[in-house]
């Protein structure tokens, strides 16, 4: 308990001291990171950074009630620290949440609070990181997810036949029935912790063969969640042995019916192991060139608003992804690429079955080709201005 208090005090003081959304400095430790929680002593000397999580608004989902309660979402600030040893890396993320929501096993309308940490499989070129939401074609992302689900039973092929019946259909009564119910109880999983690989929305696939191992915890207290994740520096999907790596964080609010895209997420954020090579830090946290005011004029003149909802006050459009929070979670390089090479990353989240009249892309020779025109003809200064404008498009912080 003493340890917990000191950690929380450390978190509280650091929260005010750190400037917004800088890179995260990872601290090297010699202790084991095999089992990490919010009370672990490894966090005592860790340096905390602030990251901002923006409501994802790229795609609107078809849940009427959820859309209503999420319409005015503000951004959320979280404190993050990272520590590593020779084999593992661990993260701690603390974010405010006024309500503790645990998905119940006997209701159809309860949703879980949760968090995820995302890694890029290939980050050698910081200008070509996976799409922030869920990776993109040819740019794989690895996602570790922890959710608060009270108890769940995976459908399994383990032949637990006799326990898959309604208790009232057994021939058991009294004490025997209690024993039976206790047996069924042991088959439930209490820890909804999963890992996925994704190359864009709808492609996300759970890793079930043990090829990626992680250990995470979630603890609620004082109107905030603290999540921790510990994982190997290297597995089949990612190799984090580098001077700096990109990570992204997402959190879900069960109170707001949060699940999948209904979440808050950060932009790619640099985690720095060794000072010196600043390529990744500059790409993700460098100064933004360009004039946002001129950029807005240019965006209007070039017809961006014809297909995209840019500002919150603009009308929603099915023609293209909503950009109302793009400045919060997209990097400068991603925005540039989207302008000059629109087909380099085509968000596959657009469901062709759902809105058959609005094609975000066509499939030519098996490749997605964006219906957005190529803007590589524009002057660099003009593109910089538009990017500067796009970077201003984001919700205010709560």
């Amino acid at each position: 308990m003493k340890k917990l208090t000191s950690t929380l005090v450390a978190l509280a003081t650091l929260a005010t001291a750190v400037a917004a959304d800088s890179a995260i400095d990872a601290r090297k430790v010699t202790t084991s990171l095999d089992k990490v929680s919010n009370t672990s002593s490894v966090w005592n000397g860790a340096k905390f950074s602030t990251v901002t999580l923006y409501p994802q608004t790229t795609i609107e989902f078809n849940d009427k009630k959820a859309n209503e309660i999420n319409a005015e979402n503000k951004a959320v600030k979280a404190q993050v620290a990272a520590v590593y040893n020779s084999a593992k890396i661990a993260f701690l993320i603390k974010w405010p949440d006024g309500t503790k929501n645990v998905q119940q096993g006997n209701r159809t309308d309860s949703y879980a609070d949760g968090f995820a940490v995302q890694f890029a499989s290939n980050y050698a070129n910081p200008a070509e990181l996976p799409y922030i939401g869920m990776g993109s074609e040819g740019r794989q992302a690895l996602i570790h997810l922890q959710k608060q689900v009270v108890k769940f039973y995976e459908p399994n092929g383990n032949g637990d036949v006799a326990t898959q019946v309604n208790p009232n259909q057994t021939e058991l009564f009294g004490k025997d029935l209690k024993v039976f119910n206790a047996k069924v109880d042991t088959l439930a999983s209490l820890d909804y912790e999963k890992s996925y690989v994704g190359e864009g929305f709808r492609s996300m696939t759970e890793i079930k063969d043990g090829s990626s191992n992680s250990q995470s915890t979630m603890t609620y207290g004082k109107n905030a969640w603290t999540g921790t994740l510990s994982r190997s520096l290297k597995d089949t999907y990612v190799d984090l042995n580098a001077a700096a790596i990109p990570v992204a964080f997402a959190v879900w609010d069960g109170e707001k019916m949060g699940r999948n895209g209904l979440k808050y997420l950060t932009a790619w954020t640099a985690v720095v192991f060794q000072k010196g090579d600043n390529t990744l830090v500059n790409a993700l946290h460098g100064k933004i060139e360009g004039d946002a005011t001129k950029g807005k004029e240019s965006a209007i003149a070039n017809g961006c608003t014809g297909c995209h909802q840019m500002e919150k006050t603009d009308a929603a459009s099915l023609m293209g992804p909503s950009l109302t929070n793009i400045g919060g979670y997209a990097t400068v390089d991603y925005l540039r690429e989207s302008l000059v090479k629109p087909s380099a990353v085509v968000v596959p989240g657009y469901n062709r079955n759902a809105h058959s009249n609005y094609a975000w892309y066509n499939i030519e020779n098996g490749k997605r080709v964006s219906t957005m025109p190529d803007h590589s003809w524009m002057e660099k200064a003009d593109i910089d201005n538009i990017i500067a404008y796009l970077k201003t498009l984001k919700a205010e912080v709560k």
């Binding site: 009427k64 898959q164 309604n166 009232n168 047996k183 809105h355 609005y358």
Partner: protein, 375 residues
């Protein structure tokens, strides 16, 4: 769109609301493992709130332009109803027979109420509903995980439980609310058209057990099949709420006959009918007029000449004619795809089938308890 489409026709003139189909489905699929509240097959009273409550007003489906419409996910307690049980255990101690929860709502809460004023013009009919295995499913379009698919060989719409993450957009997307969230496994589940039975040449349990013999099952493109004849040849079987744009593949023969109304003195008003045609139009669209006209004409023809193929079909003489599942077709599909046909009942649930009282039920807890020992 799948290569072939298996479809069901339900003759509403013959449905007596006995719920045998509901029970057949429930005992086969939904009486356990978090599915207790689900009715993959239900029979509701129309007009009425239906199941889940007011499902027609909960959104989903597509607009005229073909865009998926937002929908609402029903609440278990208020809209579906908590499946209650009784205090069997306490009865041994002399307690009175009580439900274990205070029931506030459930399927068929308003059974047989209908509309109108008794005895002048009250009316209702039964509407059995299963998943429509739509050609353009709202659930499939809504899924952000590609976890829902439509089988090529027969158009059956299924959930891949491995891919499903329990997001529940499918429930909002289905205008019929015939896909359900299983909170125990945190995944969505739905009517599977008893595909393990179908693949063995057996009709879905609901159709097999129907005492009114109202259900026909067959491939839409099988021109010799009764389903094809009812839907395409005579056009007397129509999809439910086709205005939702999902192209449902369960078809209904609309109710054609209803008693006359009474006047204030209790006298029959000649030529009147209790069932308002507007209600049928709402459910089945303008095609309902043509369907009813054909049905009446064929009825008349049968009375006068003794001949009518349509009436012979609707009399439903033989199960073998009503269910044309073309067993060899599935065997061929399995052979071509190199897969095995599934057993008609999920084998995981079969153990214990032949268990007699007194048998040692060792799978319960290590074989130390004799089943039936307390009887």
């Amino acid at each position: 769109m799948s290569k072939r489409q298996l479809a069901m026709v339900m003759d509403l003139n013959k449905c007596i609301g006995c719920q045998t189909c509901t029970v057949a489905c429930k005992t086969q699929w939904t009486n356990r493992n978090g599915r207790e509240y689900m009715y993959w097959n239900n029979v509701e009273t129309y007009p009425g709130t239906g199941y889940p409550k007011n499902w027609m007003e909960l959104g989903g489906g597509f607009d005229a332009a073909g865009d998926l419409q937002p929908g609402v996910i029903p609440n278990l307690e208020a809209d579906y109803g908590v499946p209650w049980d009784y205090n069997y255990d306490a009865l041994q101690g002399g307690a009175s027979f009580e439900p274990n929860v205070e029931p506030t709502w459930g399927p068929n809460w308003d059974e047989d109420e209908g509309a109108g004023v008794f005895p002048q013009d009250n009316y209702f009919f039964y509407l059995p509903r299963i998943c429509n295995h739509c050609t353009n499913p709202g659930c499939l379009s809504a899924c952000p995980r590609d976890a829902i698919f439509k089988r090529e060989q027969d158009g059956v719409v299924l959930v891949d439980l491995d891919r499903c993450q329990g997001y529940r957009y499918c429930i909002a997307g289905c205008p019929y609310k015939k896909i359900y969230f299983n909170p125990k496994i945190s995944k969505s589940e739905k009517c599977i058209l008893c595909f393990p039975r179908i693949e063995q040449g057996l009709p879905p349990a609901c159709a097999q057990q129907c005492v009114g013999r109202i259900r026909f099952v067959g491939f839409l493109d099988d021109e010799e099949g009764q389903v094809h004849k009812l839907v395409n040849k005579y056009k007397v079987a129509i999809g439910l709420r086709t205005d939702y744009g999902t192209q449902p593949n369960v078809y209904y023969v609309p109710p054609t006959e209803s008693p006359a109304k009474f006047d204030a003195n209790g006298k029959i008003i000649e030529g009147s009918t209790r069932l308002p045609i507007e209600e049928l139009e709402k459910l089945f669209g303008p095609e309902v007029h043509g369907a009813i006209a054909t049905l009446k004409a064929e009825m008349k023809k049968r009375k006068e000449t003794g001949e009518s193929e349509l009436m012979d079909i609707l009399i439903a003489y033989q199960h073998s004619d009503m269910f044309r599942l073309d067993n060899n077709y599935y065997q061929q599909v399995a052979k071509e795809s190199g897969q095995h046909l599934l057993a008609p009942v999920d084998n995981r649930y079969v153990t214990g089938k032949h268990t007699k009282a007194g048998h040692v039920m060792k799978f319960f807890h290590g074989g130390d308890v004799k089943a039936g020992g307390h009887h």
